[in-house]
Amino acid sequence: MPIRTSSGRYTAVAQTLHWLIAGLIVTQFVLAISADDLPIGAHKLALLARHKSFGMTVLMLAITRLLWRLKNPPPELPAGMTHLERVLARISHAAFYVLLLAMPMTGWLMSSAKNYSVSWFGLFTWPNLIAKNEAAFDVLRSTHHILGDVLFVIAVLHILAALKHHFWNKDDVLLRMLPFVKLDRAKSED
């Protein structure tokens, strides 16, 4: 029976960033879907303004999280995982980081291309990254939507995988991203 090489959990900083970003992403989907159904108007503008402010927040948090991760590697995967499971986990986590950067960046770019500058909660305005360009806006908008769909699928897989680890494998994968709980579940190497 393989011995667990790491029983560590994610650092408090990594956990905080994980759950903050998770909460923001759920909010982002709700705002985006609500705004999509509205005609052009003040209400739509209000939802999208919040969507942009939260999006730029995600971008800053994602960068922080990546930098933190470089200095503080995450705990190792449970020893019982198969090679395929490990590869899938790495790919999905890498995809998350790419999307956490690509979603806000395509959003910021599409706002720039539309000449709708991005404010951060009305406190300051981010510079436009590119000049007004209707064709670029259309491409960026589609890209933003497709990436959003991909993010949704990966997030669902991520949640299902975490629940599978917790309830099926009965290992620490979910718990180590949670504060205050005791790790070292008895059956983690079964």
Binding site: G41, A46, L48, A49, K52, K114, Y116, S117, W120, K132
Partner: protein, 191 residues
């Protein structure tokens, strides 16, 4: 005797008026060169500033620094020429809830009085927008350039004073009430 006295009073009065008017000068008449002039507004949408320009406007400028009392600006703005570099926003701004260009295609600004300030001049004038007329002061600098002149200045107004924002757009949480207007006019003398 009496006739001569009356005549001399009339003469004296005429000389006085002439002297006063030549000392004060008469304002020079100019019009704005549309290709080198710019009339823009800056609004705040969703917390971020956006700029719009009016491509079509006419400015009849009667101005001389030494003849402020008889100086006069008359500016007509074609609101259909509003351009904020986004067609959705332009359509919305020209639409019934904001400028309502179908009913109010032009905005009109006419000055009433001028005064010298530390850095330039200030004028009080009446702006008519969307059928509502309200006073809007402008601050500007006037620089003579050859036979022409350059007029550069700004104004601040509140869009809701003019009803430029009906329905949902009455809310100022997403589109600020305050709008800044900037202008640079390349003036050519009228001949």
């Amino acid at each position: 005797m009496r006739g001569r006295r009356a005549a001399s009073i009339v003469l004296l009065a005429a000389v006085t008026v002439w002297a006063a008017s030549s000392a004060a000068g008469a304002p020079t008449g100019y019009s704005a060169d549309p290709h080198q002039s710019r009339l823009e507004f800056v609004g705040v949408q969703a917390g971020a500033e956006f700029k719009g320009v009016f491509h079509k406007f006419t400015a009849d400028i009667q101005f001389a620094p030494e003849a402020l009392a008889s100086s006069h600006f008359d500016v007509q703005i074609d609101l259909n020429s509003t351009d904020t570099m986004d067609k959705d926003r332009d359509t919305t701004i020209r639409g019934a809830d904001i400028f309502d260009v179908a009913h109010f295609p032009t905005a009109h600004y006419v000055t009433r009085s001028f005064a010298k300030t530390a850095t330039g001049y200030t004028a009080v004038g009446a702006l008519t927008l969307r059928g509502v007329t309200k006073d809007v002061p402008i601050d500007f600098q006037f620089t003579q350039a050859g036979t022409g002149a350059r007029l550069e200045g700004s104004a601040k107004l509140k869009r809701l004073d003019f009803g430029a924002g009906q329905g949902d757009w009455k809310s100022t949480s997403e589109v600020a009430d305050a709008v800044k207007v900037n202008f640079v006019l390349a003036l050519k003398p009228n001949n």
